[in-house]
């Protein structure tokens, strides 16, 4: 029986005979409560008057002095009262108790409690698990299949895959991301694995440091992300062959060891680009900037922060999983990829095997093999002439 929280007080008083057991149990999150047996109200019949339920607190006080059920009902629904503290300094001072909501995954209860339930019951355990599962999957994949290799030996001829600018943008972004990931993970999960080792105070100082780092790295990441996005935008447009690549899951299905041809970036990378960099990136950045209180003219109320946090947490977990995959492939998962991003050059053979269409374009001269002006002695000896 879902009695209205406020009414429970009213009726509790209205009927002194009604035993205390009439207290509704946790059907709804918050309840006022009638913890004491009291004398009957001044007008015992008042509760049967028409319009009783619609009475304002003033009207109710007239017929039943001291019965503030109408008011508590409103308060429990988040009614804002008067506070002499200025709104500019304490925007929520007038709110006695935050209105109840039901966040996805929580009960219908005060927003703070609802947020706590979402975070502690879903985000932390399942988010953490997801990350562990991803790591586990990558590990299994690595040990089971090993890195994606190269079948034929290097030709010795190099192609410039990433210009210094592209690499700088990427690494700035990557470093910021990793910093955010590590700091974020410590914030969210550190108390499960670090706190017992370090002890409260040390862990506190460390986390404070990392949290501060996170807060400042976030905006840096946001900027670099935008740059990365535009830098790689052109070559990430969907192209002919992407579907085929996808249909064969990048060579995992069909003839083993045979990677379907792709342009400069394959469909998998494109998914990471659109789904990870753009979609999740935008959400992470937007929610992160809210949490950082960097969006001007926004009322940073608790409700805003709770929502921003939940969005941020969901998006970052997904983003972490996705980019853990990306990082895996960019490092130990695929031979030659890392040095491409590190030095900028790939061997022609690497290009032919992994990005066949791109290689053809280069061979055909449609794409120059050397795009940047090489620094003195900066470029490898043998770059295919344009």
């Amino acid at each position: 029986q879902a009695t209205q929280p406020g009414q429970s007080q009213g009726s509790g008083q209205a009927a002194a005979a009604q035993p205390a057991a009439s207290q509704p149990t946790a059907a709804v999150g918050i309840q006022g409560q009638n913890i004491f047996q009291v004398k009957p109200e001044t007008r015992p019949d008042a509760s049967s008057e028409p319009g009783y339920a619609e009475q304002t607190n003033g009207q109710r006080n007239r017929v039943q002095p001291g019965n503030n059920a109408p008011m508590w009902r409103q308060v429990q629904n988040g009614m804002e009262g008067y506070s002499s503290l200025p709104k500019s300094e304490a925007p929520e001072a007038g709110v006695l108790i935050q209105a109840p909501v039901q966040y996805p995954g929580s009960r219908f209860t005060t927003a703070g409690e609802a947020w706590r339930q979402v975070r502690n019951r879903w985000l932390i355990p399942y988010g953490g698990s997801l990350i562990l599962i991803t790591l586990g999957a990558l590990a299994i994949f690595y040990f089971a299949k090993g890195p994606v290799g190269q079948h034929d030996p290097d030709t010795g001829r190099k192609i410039e895959r990433f210009t210094p600018f592209e690499r700088a943008a990427h690494w700035a972004n990557a470093i910021a991301f990793v910093a955010l990931m590590i700091t974020g993970i410590v914030m969210a999960f550190g108390k499960f694995f670090l706190l017992p080792i370090l002890g409260g105070t040390l862990f506190g100082w460390l986390t404070w440091l990392l949290k501060t780092l996170h807060n400042f790295a976030g905006p840096l990441f946001a900027v670099s992300l935008v740059i990365v996005f535009f830098t790689f935008l052109r070559d990430n447009w969907p192209q002919k062959g992407d579907l085929h690549w996808l249909a064969r899951a990048g060579g995992m299905l069909g003839k083993p060891g045979q990677e379907p041809p792709s342009h400069r970036f394959n469909a998998g990378e494109k998914i990471v680009f659109w789904g990870g960099v753009l979609f999740l990136g935008a959400i992470v950045v937007a929610s992160g900037l809210v949490l950082d209180k960097l969006i001007p003219n926004l009322a940073y109320t608790r409700a805003t922060m709770q929502v921003a946090h939940m969005v941020h947490a969901v998006a970052t977990v997904l983003m972490m999983c996705l980019f853990l995959g990306h990082i895996y492939l960019g490092t130990i998962g695929m031979r030659g990829a890392y040095s491409a991003m590190r030095n900028g050059y790939v061997d022609e053979e690497w290009a032919r095997e992994h990005h066949a269409y791109w290689y053809e374009d280069i061979r055909a001269g449609r794409i120059p093999a050397q795009r940047s002006t090489p620094r003195e002695g900066g470029a490898p000896d043998q770059v295919r002439p344009a």
């Binding site: 009638n34 004491f36 009291v38 607190n57 002095p65 506190g204 404070w208």
Partner: protein, 205 residues
């Protein structure tokens, strides 16, 4: 052991802010941090009531549950305290607290907040009782001196009661019986669970 609780009697509270300044005075609380505040409902119309609110030292405290550095602890009196050395100022406790109790000395960009501060039930913090360090970080430790919270002791109408839950409930019950009316204790359901005597409510999360 005593279980410390607050009651604010809305039939008595007159929004005089005595409790608020008593707290500021006793603990040298800086501008912008309000461990306690007073809210008036139905302001200016019949049925108006005021309520003074601070940290309620919840039985199953949401703040404690979400703190990423687990810096909260509960004293044997049921007072919810925290360790400012460990606090990272992430603000999560303030998102979780239904009463808006946690306060931050700064409200800057980049999520800079400073160390969280909130009502300590005048019970200081983890430092040594009555030490300088304790005073500077958490304010006075009145409980250790055998005194009750400053806000309640100075409340102009004795609307605000603080102390052992059973004792304050008794005082309040007497008033209710005398008045023959008005039995709601605001915030107890949320703070201490719907069962009596501060039993935690529902599942933990």
């Amino acid at each position: 052991m005593a279980r410390m609780k607050f009651i604010c009697d809305s039939e008595r509270c007159i929004e005089c802010n005595g409790c608020v300044t008593a707290c500021k005075n006793e603990h040298e609380i800086p501008w912008g941090v309000n461990r306690r505040r007073v809210v008036t409902l139905n302001d200016g119309v019949p049925g108006e009531k005021s309520i003074s609110v601070a940290c309620m030292h919840c039985s199953d405290a949401p703040c404690m549950a979400v703190c990423p550095v687990s810096c909260f602890y509960r004293t044997e009196d049921g007072v919810v305290l925290h360790d400012k050395d460990a606090c990272i100022g992430c603000g999560y406790c303030s998102y979780a607290c239904p009463f808006g109790a946690p306060q931050f000395p700064a409200a800057g960009n980049f999520g800079v907040r400073g160390k969280m501060d909130k009502c300590t039930f005048c019970a200081g913090g983890p430092e040594e009782h009555g030490s300088q360090a304790e005073f500077e970080k958490y304010g006075r430790n009145r409980l250790a001196e055998g005194k009750l919270p400053a806000c309640a002791e100075m409340c102009s109408t004795k609307a605000l009661l603080a102390g052992d839950g059973d004792v304050v409930a008794d005082i309040f019950r007497n008033r209710v019986v005398k008045r023959g009316k008005g039995a709601e204790v605001w915030g107890w359901g949320t703070a201490y669970g719907s069962k009596q005597a501060g039993q935690p409510n529902g599942q933990k999360s």
